[in-house]
């Protein structure tokens, strides 16, 4: 009985921990600009301080922010697709084939997962300017791919190791062509893993900030996190808080939608890829 009460309290704690700051930023996004300038402490907007949907309208009318949404969605989706394809090839080889250099691939992936990103932006900044990749979509897609490959390779190879590959042969014995065996047997078994890797990759690309501010200079390629941080001036103590909050909420909506739909897959992917012991 005591344990049960403890669990209930624990659940309440987790929910408060996770949702309170989210509720706060949503509440902030409904405070009016004038209330913010005059100072409006308190969790909820005081009476008369509410701005309705005005902040959201302003944010979505802002060209820079609209461009940033397009950039972020485009760059993240392309990086995710390419990264997952390349990682699938590598993970298949690691899970199923015996070959020299397997250990090298795993070690490299691990080393890169721990790499201090900031120590690369200096030289990359220099290189990208020489190659004309500075401030372009590919200029961000390439580093995103490199840094999401380790996670994708680990997750996928953990998944692929669990697949009963004999079923492919079994299907062929039963008269399926090899294409049918692949499409009807292997693809459905492998799809959840590929999917998980894709979600985790997308999260990384969507969240990135260091590359986003270092390798872009205009709205041509600037993604949402960078755009948010450069939103109106650079004085960190005097920002248009409620506008920013509205932008922050908009940028969080895709994440919440993904989490709501794919919760089970993300948890499975995080735990199977990271700790198989």
């Amino acid at each position: 009985m005591r344990q049960k009460i403890g669990t209930v309290i624990g659940c309440a704690l987790i929910l408060a921990w996770c949702l309170l700051p989210v509720a706060w930023i949503i509440s902030l996004s409904f405070k009016s600009q004038t209330a913010i300038t005059n100072g409006s402490p308190g969790f909820l907007p005081a009476s008369g301080d509410s701005a309705g949907w005005q902040n959201y309208q302003d944010v979505l009318d802002n060209d820079q922010f609209r461009r940033a949404i397009i950039n972020s969605v485009g760059i993240s989706l392309i990086a995710t697709a390419l990264s997952v394809i390349i990682a699938t090839l590598a993970a298949y080889a690691i899970a199923r084939l015996e070959f020299q250099g397997k250990k090298f691939v795993l070690t490299t992936a691990l080393a890169i997962a721990m790499f201090p990103v900031v120590s690369l932006v200096g030289p990359l900044f220099d290189m990208w300017r020489t190659f004309g990749l500075y401030d372009t979509w590919p200029g961000l897609i390439i580093p995103y791919m490199s840094f999401t490959l380790p996670l994708a390779i680990w997750t996928l190879s953990a998944f692929f190791r669990e697949i009963p590959w004999e079923m492919e042969q079994a299907a062929q014995v039963d008269g399926a062509t090899s294409w049918q065996a692949f499409r009807k047997v292997i693809v459905p078994l492998a799809a959840p893993g590929v999917f998980t890797a894709a979600i985790l990759t997308f999260f990384f690309a969507w969240n990135d900030f260091v590359f986003g501010i270092s390798l872009t200079s205009t709205e041509r390629a600037r993604p949402i996190p960078a755009a948010l941080s450069f939103f109106v001036g650079s004085d960190p103590f005097n920002r248009p808080a409620s506008l920013l909050a509205a932008g922050a909420v908009v940028s969080t909506i895709p994440i919440i939608v993904i989490v709501l739909i794919f919760q089970r897959k993300i948890v499975a992917g995080l735990t199977s890829g990271a700790v198989k012991g």
Partner: protein, 312 residues
């Protein structure tokens, strides 16, 4: 990492006892991993070598013609500057505090998630929200929460004046940054620990219970030793991640009032001030310190990464 060699790819390198089939498998395997390896190395190893090279020059992008070979003097400048050591100290502090707090809270969360039978989906969905949210957004949310003009923290903490300025002094500002960092990354920690917890056999816990072990004894003598691998992997990953702390500092204080981390210092030198020479030296030092920390954790706690990550 920069010292690793390419995998032996030539036919001659294959051992003579390999059968044709094994050789074909090796070839296919290497072909399948080649794109991934190339991509990972192009963006990391190559720029790292370039940083090593540039760090030997006095080189500023504002005056590229004045580039001049200066040997190791950039390193000397960095290592004798008190700013470098202060930032390193602050970074280590961020790492130690956030990882320890996350370990405790993350473990409690993992225990709860492990036990809970009802509303499992709701709990897991909400714990993924901080994990998925953009760090910059988390930084903003907490910066505004701590702001005395528009936040609620001063209101809610009874022992504080309502006009207490969290960002006016080093200690409170560092605490505010840590809160944002901890909030955002604890879910990751707790999910890794949850996976470890799932591998502790219920029978063993039951047996300890029958033998009369208290809850506390079961936790320390049965549960924790059996999920050691998971704990160590979680600590290793989070510690290295925490050492690279950047986003929250950029958003919340821009490095004001001595809250700057070593990553932030590197960024400021290279991207903001275009000092590629000294910036590259800082990049190399940052990279080396990450290596040292990784090595220390692996040695100190005897983390068996291969066992934890590979075959069951």
């Amino acid at each position: 990492m920069t010292a690793v060699t390419a995998p032996p790819r030539s036919e001659g390198a294959a051992k003579p006892e390999l059968s044709d089939r094994a050789r074909a498998e090796t070839r296919l395997g290497q072909r399948l991993v080649a794109p991934a390896i190339v991509l990972m190395l192009v963006v990391t190893a190559f720029p790292m070598i370039r940083a090593l090279y540039l760090s030997l020059f006095s080189y500023s992008l504002t005056a590229p013609e004045d580039r001049e070979f200066v040997g190791l003097s950039n390193y000397l400048t960095a290592l004798t500057d008190s700013l470098f050591w202060r930032d390193t100290f602050v970074t280590v502090l961020y790492m130690l505090v956030t990882v320890s707090v996350e370990l405790v809270i993350g473990f409690v969360f993992a225990m709860v998630m492990h036990r809970v039978v009802f509303a499992r989906g709701v709990i897991r969905t909400s714990i993924l929200i901080p994990y998925g949210i953009i760090t910059v957004v988390s930084g903003f949310a907490w910066q505004f929460a701590f702001s005395f003009q528009n936040g609620f923290v001063n209101d809610w903490l009874p022992f504080l004046d309502t006009d207490f300025n969290w960002f006016g002094d080093t200690t409170p500002a560092v605490i505010a940054i840590m809160v944002s960092e901890i909030w955002k990354t604890t879910p990751f920690m707790s999910l890794l620990l949850l996976a470890g917890l799932a591998q502790v056999s219920e029978d063993m816990i039951e047996a300890a219970k029958v033998d009369g072990a208290t809850w506390w004894q079961r936790l320390w003598k049965v549960i924790l030793p059996n999920m050691r691998a998971a704990i160590m992997v979680a600590v290793l990953f989070r510690a290295l991640d925490a050492y690279r702390i950047f986003d929250n500092i950029f958003v919340m204080t821009s490095g004001a009032v001595n809250t700057e981390s070593i990553s932030f210092l590197t960024y400021r030198q290279t991207i903001e001030q275009f000092q590629l020479g000294i910036g590259s030296a800082l990049s190399v030092l940052l990279f080396l310190s990450v290596l040292v920390i990784a090595w220390l954790i692996v040695k100190l706690f005897k983390v068996d990464l291969a066992a934890a990550r590979q075959e069951g």
